[in-house]
Symmetry: C2
Subunit: 208 residues, 2 copies
């Protein structure tokens, strides 16, 4: 089988990162096509929905980040084969996508409006979402979101918590996850300590 | 195995409807727990993310509509077993969820703002999304979104096109799908003509 090509922006986070991590952890050879922001307008019309990530394989393309996570998760052995556990894995990924989309949709707002919306989101829906995700983690044993082991859901949540704590999201308190959902921060640290994750970011020269 | 219980609002559309249709078509016995809007505030805290649908089975609960669609799709034989076809199925479902969320998020806005935002969405992102979904359908043969047969993706798109053409979304032209994505309207009619779908809505006394 040919190797898949993951097309995503040249950043070490956001919607394409969990798929990269899954293939790295699972030892799945893939082409990491990192799109520069300057090149995006030219490539955008060729994507299925004008957005990244997309995954290419044998001349075919598929879009939407969580579907890609599932596909590469199956290749990497990081997606549950049990249907119920798969649904729990999907649930956590969609919960992250839901709240992250709300936050990211403020990106291009005028400064004052961005500040107001982000502060409102942080105090309301984002805090709620973190609390609820934490409850789900705890309800399923506290270590992983489904299947009693590392799956793509854990990678998705890890990337999200890392983003929230990075200070890159202006007007969202960097200590919000630590205050609202300390078990998610422990979970983040658990994924971060995975040998393949550590080795990958060391090679990428990305501080965790 | 116990029968699953689908908990969703007492409406014949939106986020819970594709799962109902999948179980009806696949002959999967299920409890259809239809929540009245008046009862929602009381039930909301007991759901994983303060939202419906949720699916309950053997005392366990799972949330997020497309994950539920996948789970019941597997029970109903309406989800691809091939991983790539599954990713295409997921892609269409997430594409609908993405644009529907944008539209539905205007629901509680003040009248003037709702009108402005919906008109802007209809002319821009919604038209774009319909065009792109149509292209994906055509690229995969024009009949179904994946696997060369009816899957939960087709049910999700069907419910969405039906909603757009229903006139229930103020400020969104009811003829938008017909103008922008006639192949999606043909696809809608194809799903609507499915004997189990016809029989179900006849029994529900819902006009299609």
């Amino acid at each position: 089988m040919a190797s898949p090509k993951l097309v995503y922006f040249d950043i070490d986070g956001a919607r394409g990162e969990a798929a990269r991590l899954a293939m790295v952890i699972g030892g799945v050879p893939f082409e990491d096509d990192r799109v520069k922001f300057a090149d995006w307008e030219g490539r955008k019309p060729g994507t299925p929905f004008g957005a990244l990530p997309v995954l290419e394989l044998d001349g075919q393309t598929v879009a939407q980040s969580n579907g890609i996570n599932r596909y590469v998760g199956k290749l990497a052995g990081l997606y549950p084969s049990d249907a119920w556990q798969a649904a729990l894995c999907d649930e956590a990924m969609d919960a992250v996508e839901e709240i992250a989309t709300k936050l990211w949709s403020t990106m291009s707002l005028p400064a004052a409006e961005k500040k107001a919306q982000r502060e409102s989101l942080a105090a309301g829906p984002l805090s709620y979402s973190l609390d609820r995700l934490q409850r789900r983690l705890v309800a399923h044993g506290g270590q992983y979101f489904s299947d009693g082991r590392l799956t793509v859901a854990d990678l998705k949540v890890f990337v999200w918590i890392r983003h929230l704590r990075s200070g890159q999201l202006d007007h969202v308190p960097v200590d919000l996850p630590d205050r609202v959902a300390p078990r998610l921060v422990e979970h983040h640290d658990r994924v971060k300590a995975h040998p393949a994750v550590k080795a990958y970011y060391a090679e990428r020269k990305v501080a965790l």
